[in-house]
């Protein structure tokens, strides 16, 4: 993509605009313009940012709108509904009066989506859950991309034995059962008295760092593969040969010649990786081996909602819709980003 494109539209346009002077634009600027013209991608990006803002505003919602502590057990609590005071968790009806059911969605400021089995406000929890899910998703994707980039540059550039070692290591990581790692780590942390002591700081079992690191590490091979392929092919290109002829050392070659050309691939992969990590985190949390109580994430709330699925489905449906919208927005935006950065891959619909 960074290879100079004489036919790139930008230059023609500028000539028209500036009445004759040809002003060059960097490929990044060109990409930016293409992206800005893609309305759907922009809408997706806006949706994603909106979700981020709303999720990080969870404390405000909980405190000022819903007036609730979404992490405190409220089994015997009551709220005022249509002027009447009702139990948040109500005893069953019928001849035997069995069962206790939390209230359903009120569609008002308090208990908008209803209560869960602990009497907590589900809507407030969904927002807080969004915070955890997004933090983990964004950070682990960034971590995976960063590590993959480093490994791919080293392996692709130096080739030979280094390449073999790193690639086989990546194979091993890819074949490794992520659930085993997650469960084992979770159990170690839960059962150790003061959390995992890593010298500088300690991680408690409910720390978000655990799922973050696990997910970040297991996706390194996934990003590593395409980048390494690209580094391999870039290594043979003329401009690298030219730089070597100029006497450039390995370090400069990697970071000043190859890296900028690989960067666009990483940028395209980033939103797609965020989408993937969010889905993975929700799956791990659903299985109770991701985010641990007292923290909440979209996945853990779906887990909570499973026991209530047939009576109070909104507890499970709410967070699921949030995941769907977030991941969809990221995928649509990712598509648009890819089209903007590599116009040859874009299908022109004319």
């Amino acid at each position: 993509m960074a290879v100079f494109e004489p036919e790139a539209e930008g230059i023609v346009l500028d000539a028209e605009e500036t009445g004759g002077d040809i002003v060059g634009r960097s490929p990044w600027a060109l990409a930016g313009r293409r992206l800005l013209r893609n309305r759907i991608s922009l809408a997706a990006l806006t949706l994603f940012l909106l979700i981020v803002v709303v999720s990080f505003g969870a404390p405000i919602y909980a405190h000022d709108i819903a007036h609730t502590d979404p992490f405190a057990s409220n089994v015997t609590g009551t709220i005022k509904l249509n002027g009447k005071t009702v139990d948040v968790i109500q005893q069953g009806t019928g001849k035997l009066g069995l069962g206790e059911t939390p209230i359903g969605p009120t569609w008002s400021s308090q208990y908008f989506l209803g209560a869960d089995n602990q009497g907590r406000d589900v809507a407030a929890r969904v927002l807080y859950g969004g915070r955890s899910s997004l933090i983990i998703g964004l950070s682990s994707a960034a971590l995976a991309c960063l590590l993959a980039l480093l490994f791919a540059l080293v392996a692709g550039f130096f080739g030979g034995f280094t390449d073999t070692i790193i690639s086989r290591l990546m194979d091993l990581v890819w074949a490794f059962p992520v659930y085993l790692l997650a469960i084992s780590l979770a159990t170690v942390l839960l059962t150790s008295a003061h959390g995992l002591n890593l010298g500088l700081f300690t991680l408690s079992a409910s720390s978000l760092w655990i799922p973050l690191l696990i997910i970040g590490l297991i996706y390194v091979p996934y990003v590593y593969r395409p980048i390494r392929g690209q580094v391999l092919s870039l290594r043979e290109k003329e401009f690298v040969e030219a730089a070597i002829a100029q006497g450039a050392g390995s370090f400069r070659l990697i970071f000043r010649e190859i890296l900028p050309n690989v960067l666009s691939t990483v940028i395209v992969l980033l939103p797609l990786m965020i989408a993937t990590t969010i889905l993975t985190e929700s799956a791990l949390s659903y299985l109770s081996i991701g985010v641990q109580a007292p923290q909440a994430s979209w996945g853990t709330i779906i887990q909570d909602g499973q026991a209530l699925l047939y009576t109070r489905p909104w507890v499970a449906i709410g967070p699921g819709i949030m995941i769907l919208l977030t991941v969809l927005a990221l995928n649509v935006f990712g598509d648009g980003l890819r089209d903007a950065l590599d116009p040859r891959s874009k299908v022109r619909s004319r």
Binding site: D171, Y179, S184, A275, A283, I289, I302, L309, N331, V347
Partner: protein
Amino acid sequence: MLTFAIRRLLGLVAVLLVLSILVFLIFFATPGIDPARRMAGRNPSPETIAQIKHEFGLDRSLPVQYVLMMKKLFVTRDLISYGSQTKVIPEITSAAPVTFSLVIGAAVIWVVFSILVGLAAAVLRGTVLDPILMILALIGISVPVFWLGEVVNLFTQSRWHGFFLFSWVPPLGYTPLTQDPLKWFEGLVFPWLTLSVLYVGFYARVLRANLIETENEDYIRTARAKGISERRVLLRHNLRTSMITFVSLFGLDLGVLIGGGALLTEVVFGLPGVGLLTYNSLTGLDLPVIMTTVIYGAFFITIASALVDLLYAWLDPRVRPA
């Protein structure tokens, strides 16, 4: 070709070996469980626990225990589970058909549908249907499969179960094919559909992108110039090349799924397959079963990866190792 196969086979053995050692070490690094205690039951006396420890070789050193376990797993094939105290291999052999049923059925569905959708989107490029199909595909890969399964259950088991459309849906669970083929089928329809949604979305997009990319290749232009009809160009020339990526990705995904990757679908629909067995053994920290399922899964993943590389090299001569 032969050296390639041998090299990959050795690689497979190496991966399995390293993996099994890692699993072993992780298990023993995880505190809080004494397998002898678990096997002893509810309120055993300390002597009972000591006896069981000795009988199962749990008082030996780690390397010895590792070798003993591998021997019991591969040679004598009588490895015993810590949890149920019965043989592990029959547990896997009864879980495997469930996973096969789920995965093969879903694979058939998603291959057919993704080819249809991918072809349609490529052909209908330029009309409004192309973006619509692609948005649907995107939704497919954006929805968490376990949540989709829960929603499907909500409607087919509870909310709309009374309507004729869903009243035939049996309660969650698995009926073996040999026991009742109709029930087997009915119980798998929705798991199949749920599992394939994700893959239809993904593969449709992959196929469409490949089809469009190869559109611009010279040999396609040549074929058109020769006067071959559009349909033949699409199906006989374009599709065949585009299927290369499709097939290789499919092989990898199939390997992962058969090895237990359909865990979430199995959990949500109550199917006692390999994925569920793996998960239960992990949460129960049942090392013999964990070891067996991890090796089983890694075996399929690695074999699939090797087969795909082989297939890719055969299909696309440009990629063959020099």
